[in-house]
Amino acid sequence: MDPIKKKIQSNSRETRQDLFGKIVTYTCIALIVLVVLSIFVFVASKGMATFFVNKANFWDFLSGKNWNPTMLDSKGSPMLGALPMITGSFGVTILAVLFATPFAIGTALYMTEIASGKGERILQSVIELLVGIPSVVYGFIGLSVIVPFVRNYIGGSGYGILSGSFVLFVMVLPTVTSMTVDSLRAVPRFYKEASLALGATKWQTIYKVILRSSTSGILTAIIFGMARAFGEALAVQMVIGNAAIMPTSLLSSASTLTSVLTMGIGNTVMGTVANNALWSLALILLLMSLFFNIVVRLIGRKGRM
């Protein structure tokens, strides 16, 4: 074959380069998707084993109040009541977000609407630093400041849902604040100008215009805060007291899904009922984070319309 014909008919150098690029990037992205899929498959198959291999009743698992996987109950099935942990997890998450939301919105409003350029920059960098502080440090702060505070001024041993939600409040606050600031900044400037030009006061503008038009962004920030609080393990584990019993008050020792997981996985043998039951708790965590994700998506879709 003559060289010119060959050159025209074969791929050019550029085409080969492009093919190479496509292969490289598709491989990377496929790897990430593979990781996500295998996390789901592995955790789900382990978590389901409690119900299919150990024959625990799914409904009893969700509503039972006794968590003692090594003991058998009157019917001969293991005592796997996860309600205390589920209550603990939802308790600390909801309380933490209830505390954090007004503070986060207030701080964000101050940063975007009231503060001068300098104050805004200082607050911004403080919040950025706080977002990056490791959760163990928050846990240690909880242990050395919040637990004694609760013990001395409120009552109880200091360990419990209240301390857990205080720690999570401090942890979630910077995240929710910085996301709220982003959504407040995204409000078009002329909305504010139009409202002020109509003679509205600053507060009326904030309340009737700015907060209304950034509602979906603020909701997203709150859900993100909830997801973070729900999945946080060590900081909560350090201050909640770790008693797998139904919490009777905000001041009594309790436990969350994550705290039981971190304490238990190392002390149980792979493949036993006790171990499988922990994986079922991990599955609940996984499904909840999926749920939070879907809620964020739904809010985003509604906000766009």
Binding site: G21, T25, G106, P134, G139, S289
Partner: protein
């Protein structure tokens, strides 16, 4: 008059809230720094930790944290670079791309305990790698991938399309345009993101407890052969990091000066995160200046 009064009250409430938040946060941070910084000394930063007596340091843990961070970055950066380039340059608008985006979002919102447990199940147990630095680095990679990918994608997207068109019109392939034109321009943003992500990885503990382990074996800093079990570079030795150390000594309660050591270690963590934040900004700015030749 009523609305004006309302306005005044409301704005003052907002000011009070902001001041309260700053006070609470500064109080907590100050508390840690004031009780922790006096413990930081050269001896504390370099000596080995003690289990049952006081006076231990955090030298091994500090080294482990840094080593683990470097390994994580070496594994996760190339993958997320490829994934970021895919999402910003190659991704077609179809079902596959939206599934990929969904997957990355889900991965980034997974609780780190779950990521750690998955690493434990797959690498420590299934592949029999044991509690090792390598298992820990892979678990941290899962945790770091979504953040890094999103950051790289955003930095690449911020490059104007004009640059892409210019590259194409010179007859460059798309791949070459990305590597030689787009990537250098996006570099400052990417570096800033990598350093900020590094701060998060440095302080992560929940994903490491069951992958890198909770024990700091004695390592011999004179032995740099990676295949020797006592070498600091050995990939298969268990490695407790600084963050895991803080958690462990507080939940075990056998170390007499646990609170002092954890205060010191927490202060070190906070200072390192602060340094990462400052570095991210400085490096990003100086790279930007260098690459764009602005003053």
């Amino acid at each position: 008059m009523k609305t004006k009064l309302q306005n005044k009250i409301a704005l003052n409430i907002i000011r009070i809230i902001a001041a309260l938040v700053v006070l609470i946060l500064l109080f907590l941070l100050g508390d840690i720094l004031i009780s922790g910084v006096p413990h930081i000394s050269w001896h504390f930063l370099t000596s080995a930790s003690q289990s049952f007596e006081s006076g231990g340091g955090i030298g091994v843990q500090l080294f482990n944290s840094i080593y683990l961070l470097l390994l994580t970055l070496i594994i996760s950066f190339p993958i997320s670079l490829g994934a970021g380039i895919f999402l910003s340059e190659y991704a077609p608008k179809n079902l596959f791309t939206s599934i990929v985006r969904m997957a990355i979002e889900v991965l980034s919102s997974l609780p780190s305990v779950v990521v750690g447990l998955f690493g434990f199940l797959l690498f420590v147990v299934q592949f029999q790698m044991g509690f090792s630095i390598l298992s820990g680095a892979i678990a941290l990679t899962f945790f770091n991938l979504p953040l890094l990918t999103r950051n790289i994608e955003e930095s690449l997207r911020a490059v104007p399309d004009l640059q892409r068109e210019a590259g194409m019109s010179l007859g460059l392939s798309k791949w070459r345009t990305v590597m030689r034109v787009i990537l250098p321009e996006a570099l400052p943003g990417i570096v800033t993101g990598v350093v900020l992500g590094a701060g998060r990885v440095f302080g992560e503990a929940a994903a490491l407890i069951y992958t890198a382990g909770q024990s700091a074996t004695n390592i011999d800093f004179g032995n740099w052969n990676p295949f020797n079990a006592a070498s600091p570079l050995n990939l298969m030795r268990p490695a407790e990091t600084l963050a895991v150390h803080i958690w462990k000594i507080n939940s075990e309660g056998v170390m007499p000066d646990a609170s002092a050591v954890s205060a010191g270690a927490s202060a070190v963590l906070i200072i390192v995160v602060l340094l990462f934040n400052i570095f991210a900004r400085i490096i990003g700015n100086s790279l930007y200046r260098k690459l764009t030749a602005t003053k």
